[in-house]
Symmetry: C2
Subunit: 141 residues, 2 copies
DNA sequence: CCTACATCCTCTAGCGACTAGAGGAGCAAG
DNA sequence: CTTGCTCCTCTAGTCGCTAGAGGATGTAGG
């Protein structure tokens, strides 16, 4: 079951869009599956697991190139997992720095929106703060 | 002072790269400045302030289209600031949801890296967790 | 005046990771 | 046999730049 299914079903089963599956094949992230006589792609359970793996990794923000490496590691499980560790660790620190940056953006945006007098633009903090950047990018607040 | 300067100086003064300034002109985010006899662009203080405004807004993650609207509001300050407010509010909620997502990614990545036995790939949690997505996308952990 | 060298100009193509759409073929059900 | 869905390939567009080619202009020193 879930063997020799067409692309639409593989898409439904994996959560990866049809066009994206074809794109992954095109860039060589997945290999080209066999075809029916009518030239339609046929996927089996392993293919769908790969797609799920890819989707999960993409959801976690891994780049295609990193996923390429991770898939390769999955295929050759007798290697050291140092590479996989390094990739995940790099991703973690990326996520952490993004969080830090977004938190400071959040503070600044909230500050911008501290304008209870919803009047005209010339009294509005949003435009004002954007115009007076000097006072904002410094970590003095 | 800072009037009739060439693009390189406008770039240095605003922190927006030369190529990016030309790109902004091309897409109509800023208007085409006058030129010298030798066909070089000349920027004045107002232009540089616009570039700073844009840069600050970009740093805060506003999209070009949003910035277009914000610049327009800045030029017509007799309008209601509701639009500016809405844009900033939308940006804030975007930032907040990104933070939330990244925080849960962080947790999942940390869980992936809880593998102290740095052995071979077949014992490695990184690959394993990516392969067994079912247990991860559910909010049960 | 000549020569370096920096800066400027336009134009085109590339990035990442898809997404959308045109135009056509295959296939299952009624 | 026709309707309507899925599938095929191919191309171009998205966003916000960035890089590079190939050439013109401007400035400082010898």
């Amino acid at each position: 079951m879930l063997s020799d299914v067409p692309i639409g079903e593989a898409s439904r089963a994996s959560g990866v869009k049809v066009a994206t599956i074809r794109y992954y094949e095109q860039i060589g992230l997945i290999s080209a599956p066999p075809r029916t006589e009518g030239n339609r792609r046929l996927y089996d359970r392993r293919d769908i697991e790969r797609l799920l793996f890819i989707r999960h990794a993409r959801d976690l923000g891994f780049e295609i190139d990193a996923i390429r490496t991770l898939l390769d590691l999955q295929d050759n499980p007798d290697q050291s997992c140092a590479t996989a560790d390094a990739i995940a660790r790099a991703r973690l620190s990326d996520v952490e720095s993004r969080i830090a940056k977004l938190l400071s953006l959040k503070v600044e945006l909230q500050r911008m929106l501290e304008c209870t007098a919803h009047g005209r633009v010339d009294q509005c903090r949003v435009i004002e703060v954007l115009g007076h950047h000097e006072e904002c990018m410094h970590p003095t607040h």
